[in-house]
């Protein structure tokens, strides 16, 4: 009898594992120091009370793709979605260890950081190609959005027909302009937030529940 019960459990477990729709993987992409990990940490803390990774003002703090699974987000509209949040290393076209030395890193450490950051970009692009169902493209609203890397990345995301929400981050800073970002990417929704202060993140959650279903 127990044998039968156990077999039945095994089979149903197997079937569940097999047919369960995996939750959508939402990748947070963007140039270095846009605040990707800060936002990932906020999302994860708000909904499951955990954290994704450390943040710092030195670019390329995140050099490996990090993932938190099964986060259920609800908007005030009552919709909710379950997603995996994938925090990615900042994508850039140039990485030079000298940049890190300006932040006080020793040469050896800076060279190592540059090498890891390069691997990180390759890993982020690998994920984008195979494992991502939707993208939050993060931009620092105090910076020029018309950088070549942003245009290229949004183009790549569009060519893969992935839904993308553009986040204009750091709106708590005085020279931030979410409008400049909106005019750069009029074809996508742009949500201005402050990942650090938590300003307007509810709007982002609501947009996510609508957009990534």
């Amino acid at each position: 009898m127990t044998f039968l019960v156990r077999t039945k459990q095994k089979i149903s477990q197997f079937l569940r594992a097999f047919f369960r729709k995996r939750s959508s993987r939402i990748g947070i992409y963007g140039p270095p120091n846009a605040g990707k990990t800060t936002l990932a940490n906020r999302i994860v803390r708000d909904w499951i009370g955990d954290a994704v990774g450390p943040v710092s003002e030195v670019p390329h703090e995140t050099r490996r793709v990090r993932r938190k699974e099964n986060i259920t987000i609800s908007g005030v509209n009552g919709h909710s979605i379950t997603i995996d949040i994938v925090d990615t290393p900042g994508v850039t076209t140039k990485i030079d260890y000298n940049e890190f030395m300006e932040y006080g890193l020793e040469k050896d450490e800076a060279v190592k950081r540059a090498r890891e950051a390069t691997e990180g970009v390759a890993e982020a692009m690998h994920w984008l190609r195979e494992d991502i169902d939707g993208v939050i493209y993060m931009l620092d609203a105090t910076q020029d959005p018309f950088m070549q890397v942003n245009i290229m990345m949004v183009g790549i995301i569009e060519s893969r027909q992935l839904p993308v929400i553009i986040v204009a981050n750091k709106i708590d800073l005085p020279d931030a302009s979410a409008n400049r970002i909106k005019s750069a990417f009029p074809q996508h929704p742009v949500i201005p937030i402050s990942g650090l202060e938590g300003d307007n993140v509810e709007t982002l959650y609501e947009k996510m529940t609508d957009y990534f279903r």
């Binding site: 994508v91 000298n98 540059a114 970009v121 390759a122 990345m153 790549i156």
Partner: protein
């Protein structure tokens, strides 16, 4: 009405596209617009082109050399370029296409091809 090369005096028919690339005889980049009547003044009256320019108050036209074209990012074959140890240039277009890694070393066209990354089985 024609243009004259200020360097060698060669003249070109009006609207000639040749001058856009510089004078084919001497490589000069500056041309003066000359009225038909004065077309041969430089030879017949032994005036310099500059003198004619002063006389006619025409501005000398300078053809800007076409900027040396750098290879566009998307035309590059390498996915990563190692400029020097610890300094990298990433071709994210290439990285977005596949995992196959071609590395370019330094400024010259020296490449390293990661055969292992190309031998990996493609998913689907």
């Amino acid at each position: 009405m024609p243009h004259k090369c200020t360097q060698c005096g060669r003249d070109f028919e009006d609207g000639s596209a040749t001058i856009l690339k510089g004078c084919p005889s001497c490589g000069g980049k500056k041309f003066l617009y000359i009225r038909e009547a004065q077309r041969h003044d430089d030879v017949l009256e032994e005036k310099s082109i500059e003198a004619i320019a002063d006389e006619t108050k025409q501005e000398i036209l300078e053809v800007k050399p076409a900027p040396a074209k750098e290879v566009e990012v998307y035309d590059r074959i390498e996915s990563i370029r190692i400029v020097s140890p610890g300094s990298y240039e990433l071709n994210i277009e290439k990285l977005a296409q596949s995992d196959e890694v071609v590395i370019r070393l330094g400024k010259e066209d020296k490449y390293m091809v990661d055969i292992l990354s190309m031998a990996k089985k493609k998913k689907e």
